[in-house]
């Protein structure tokens, strides 16, 4: 399984090269990878059935508990087959759709990386690995939506999708961390066997909400749905693959996967039922309003995801069976319809349904593919969509209030989708030839092979449903419910209540289809009246964020070094004093315990004080810089006296170089000779200086009064010579025991050096003005503005 997941990433590296040699035909070759992955997973079926699940372990970073553990059970298998199966046809379709595009090679690479990441999501068992692959799908989706990166709309949509799904991913990570630490295990495969431990935990609600946030953002549930329609800026193969058939189902997968440990509680049912149901209704209602084929499909995708969420919320074996069947049906028909829409755009040059018409005669194969997809979407016998609908109606016919409400919602939603599905498939194809920018004719085999095959698969799945019911659907439903499920499916179940509801749905859908333009005008009016949506809210939120950060920046980044220093030192004083007072940890000052300084120690202290006094009374900057050096040297001698020769040595050198560099900075920046402070400024500076100084003194006294933990010192003393062959412990720590830290530090030194060079070389535009301000920071600000 490791190879199945990683091969996509590896092949992605070579995809641009392959495209260079084969051109758009590289799509045929690249499709071999998903095809062979599909065959591989098909071959695993028997083992999954007999053993319930296959587990595979590859150590990655075992010390962090991060391993590539793969877990293949019924539900992973179904997803893996859908991803690789649809992926095969998408690769072929991409070659035809983007034939002649300059960056087709890059496109192939992104698609393969996405496919590999998506397989990683559905196959991983380690929570951290799931998160990692989950974020990789967000990143690849970002790259693919922004593929046409010269258009501002693409860039905005890409960023929006990344922000929304990324934030959801972080919430999910938090949920995973709480989940993992509360049960003490980060392997999904193990957690699934713990039974009700999580549901009984007092952390159940936070875990549930955080994980659902991840699922809802990814699967475009209201109010996080807005990124999905915008993501239609991506080339159509991306919409077909990521934004209908696979990636947006990652959230559904997550809910299915966590169903045994989180599902079937009152909170779960309410959250999923309400959000899913509302997403279904809102999605279909907004979809009716659209005139762009891809937008119609995008909003129905959102609706279908809502339907799936709602079914999972209803819970129970029947609803899960309905969800699995609908998942299968939706991936097939929606992937197909998107590809049809792409072909129409490719051939006719527009996606506007009011302009399209009469294409059916020109492109019969595409028409046929669109028609069977729409039949499945409308839930008409004998397609798999019909069985999915029967199954969900059957499951929701319980009579309890929640189920009944969800049943009504499902009927309304399905009826609307029936109408929209046929509108997408029939309106561009039937009637008079529309007013289209291009002279349309049938697309190449690369363009119709995918939608036709997916459509026929939908038909085959419907006819062969009895077989599927005992195999893949059975294993998936059993895996979700974590028990052996009864999935006895038939194409024709006789005349019963679900069938009557089904007929009702179709009749209703037919009525909507007949009055399509009127319904659209109505939806348009209502939505215009509301006027505000989460998409606008997203922009407003970003604007607010920018506004707040602008205010904060303006407050703190004044461009005056004086202000920065003052703020830094005020904060430092607070950091020292506040905890010390709040925790009543002031040092005891008992003069009798202090040893009396010898005369030379007292002498050095006196020199230090004199240096300090000289700094205070100095008339010019240069004098104060040199006087500060006196203080520094006195301290260095103290270090020497108290047995820290290395420290003392360094202190001497640093003091010397500081004096030299400060003097250079002064002449270089043409600062005023003196830097006197008057009035309030002087008072504030004095108070801050005394607060910081006394704070450090108090802190050091306090530290001396606690028991020091000597274990590290002892360790280094003991092993410095023995292991590291060095007697200078300080140096051994620097270059051996903690060499990695030092490596980081010298990298920082180097980077700082380069940055300072760049700052010095900046030429301020208004030199006179800059000279009045202090030091280099102001220069930066000047030249930037």
């Amino acid at each position: 399984m490791l190879l199945a997941v990683l091969s996509g990433f590896i092949l992605a590296l070579f995809a641009p090269l392959l495209k260079r040699f084969l051109g758009y035909r590289a799509g045929w070759v690249l499709a071999l990878l998903p095809a062979s992955i599909f065959v591989y997973f098909l071959g695993q079926y028997d083992q999954v059935m007999s053993q319930h699940a296959i587990f595979e372990y590859h150590p990655w970073i075992p010390s962090l508990g991060l391993n590539l553990t793969f877990y293949l059970d019924g539900i992973s298998l179904l997803f893996a087959l859908l991803i690789s199966g649809i992926g095969t046809f998408i690769m072929i379709y991409s070659g035809g759709y983007l034939k002649g595009h300059v960056h087709l090679g890059r496109f192939f690479a992104f698609m393969l990386m996405f496919m590999a990441s998506m397989l990683g999501v559905v196959l991983s068992s380690n929570l951290m690995a799931i998160f990692l692959f989950w974020e990789l799908t967000s990143v690849t989706s970002f790259l693919l939506i922004g593929f046409d990166h010269l258009r501002q709309a693409s860039r905005r949509a890409a960023l929006q999708a990344l922000v929304v799904t990324g934030l959801g991913g972080l919430a999910m990570l938090a949920g995973f961390v709480i989940l993992g630490t509360s049960v003490g295990n980060f392997e999904m495969a193990d957690i699934l066997s713990f039974g009700n431990v999580v549901k009984d935990s007092e952390l159940y609600i936070p875990i549930l909400i955080l994980i659902l946030l991840g699922a809802f953002t990814k699967s475009a549930q209201f109010p996080f749905h807005f990124w999905l329609p915008n993501a239609m800026e991506a080339p159509t193969p991306v919409s077909a693959f990521l934004h209908s058939a696979t990636m947006v189902k990652a959230g559904i997968y997550l809910m299915m996967r966590t169903y045994p440990i989180l599902g079937d509680t009152i909170e779960w049912s309410l959250l999923l039922g309400i959000f899913g149901g509302f997403t279904l209704l809102a999605g279909t209602f907004i979809a009716i309003r659209q005139t762009d084929l891809k937008q119609m499909l995008a909003y129905t995708t959102m609706a279908s995801l809502g339907l799936l969420t709602m079914l999972l919320g209803a819970g129970g074996e029947g609803a899960i069976e309905g969800a699995v069947l609908y998942l299968l049906a939706h991936s097939l028909f929606k992937g197909g319809l998107f590809m049809v829409a792409g072909t129409i755009y490719h051939e006719a040059g527009t996606l506007d349904i009011t302009k399209l018409g009469g294409l059916g005669r020109k492109m019969p194969i595409t028409f046929f593919a669109a028609l069977i997809a729409a039949l499945s979407m409308g839930g008409i016998i004998p397609l798999v969509g019909f069985i999915a609908k029967e199954s969900m109606y059957h499951a929701l016919l319980h009579g309890d209030p929640l189920s009944t409400i969800l049943l009504v919602v499902a009927i309304i939603g399905n009826a609307m989708m029936f109408a929209i599905g046929f509108a997408v498939a029939l309106k561009p194809m039937m009637g008079k030839l529309g007013d289209m920018p291009k002279q349309a004719h049938e697309g190449s085999i690369m363009l119709w092979l995918g939608p036709l095959t997916l459509g026929l698969c939908g038909l085959a799945a419907g006819i062969g449903i009895a077989y599927l019911g005992h195999t893949i659907v059975h294993s998936a439903v059993s895996a979700i419910g974590n028990e052996n499920a009864e999935t006895d499916l038939h194409l024709w179940g006789g005349i019963n209540a679900p069938l009557i509801l089904s007929l009702l749905t179709m009749a209703w859908g037919g009525v909507i289809f007949y009055f399509y333009d009127k319904v659209r005008a109505f939806a348009d009016r209502v939505l215009n009246w509301i006027g505000w949506g989460p998409d606008k809210g997203f922009d407003q939120f970003l604007a607010l964020l920018l506004w707040v950060s602008q205010r904060i920046t303006d407050t703190f980044q004044t461009g005056h070094l004086k202000t920065y220093m003052r703020n830094t030192f005020i904060l430092l004083a607070l950091v020292i004093w506040v905890p010390m007072i709040a925790y009543d940890a002031l040092p005891d000052i008992d003069l009798s315990t202090l040893t009396k300084p010898t005369f030379y120690e007292a002498g050095i202290l006196l020199i230090a004080v004199l240096g300090l006094y000289a700094v205070l009374i100095a008339k010019s900057r240069l004098t104060s810089i040199v006087s500060l050096g006196i203080l520094g040297f006195a301290v260095a001698i103290l270090f020497m006296l108290f047995g820290a020769p290395d420290l003392s040595f360094t202190q001497f050198m640093v003091e010397t170089l500081t004096a030299v560099i400060l003097a250079l900075v002064m002449t270089r920046l043409k600062l005023d000779k003196n830097d006197a402070k008057y009035g309030m400024e002087a008072v504030v500076a004095t108070i801050v200086a005394i607060a910081v100084g006394s704070g450090f003194a108090a802190l050091l006294l306090r530290v001396m009064q606690t028991e020091l933990d000597m274990s590290l010192s002892d360790y280094f003393t003991k092993y410095s010579a023995a292991i590291a062959h060095g007697h200078n412990i300080v140096n051994v720590i620097l270059v051996d025991f903690r060499a990695l830290d030092t490596l980081g530090e010298i990298s920082v030194v180097m980077t700082t050096g380069v940055v300072i060079l760049a700052l010095i070389r900046l030429k301020p535009k208004n030199h006179k003005h800059a000279s009045q301000k202090s030091k280099s920071k102001s220069k930066l600000k000047e030249s930037a503005s």
């Binding site: 050198m653 140096n731 010298i746 180097m750």
Partner: protein, 138 residues
């Protein structure tokens, strides 16, 4: 500041300081010293030479650009971790070799020493670069 006494004595003093800096660098493992302190001493030497003889003289004497020296130092320190991969121990673990010098004498070569020399280069390079640029009159 640029008196004839300073100008006369500075080159000799600079040479002396650089020798001392190397001495401090190499003895650092057992006695007070090491790459950081040694580097600071060498940087002071450069500062002194720069003040007395001018920036151009220092640049000529250094031959390499100080930033290049610093970058080389980071690279050298990082590369001293490569032998740990070959010996399959954690990155930057100290590894020691005895290099025979003939007459039964040995020289202790080690990765921490290479690392420390890298640190020396970084400190000299970064500080000298900043100082020289500041000193250059524009």
């Amino acid at each position: 500041m640029n008196t004839i006494i300073l100008r006369t004595i500075a080159p000799a003093l600079t040479a002396l300081m650089i020798i001392f800096s190397l001495f401090v660098l190499l003895r650092g493992h057992n006695e007070p010293g090491g790459g950081f302190i040694g580097g600071l001493i060498a940087a002071s030497a450069m500062a002194l030479y720069g003040i007395s003889s001018g920036v151009q003289a220092v640049r000529r004497a250094l031959y390499f650009h100080p930033v290049t020296m610093g970058g080389f130092g980071v690279l050298m320190a990082a590369c001293s971790g490569i032998p740990s991969y070959i010996n399959n121990v954690p990155f930057l673990s100290g590894i020691w070799w005895k290099v025979p010098l003939g007459d039964g004498e040995y020289f202790d070569l080690s990765t921490p020493m290479i690392f420390d020399i890298g640190v020396w280069f970084v400190v000299v390079g970064a500080i000298t670069a900043i100082m020289l640029t500041l000193e250059e009159a524009d």
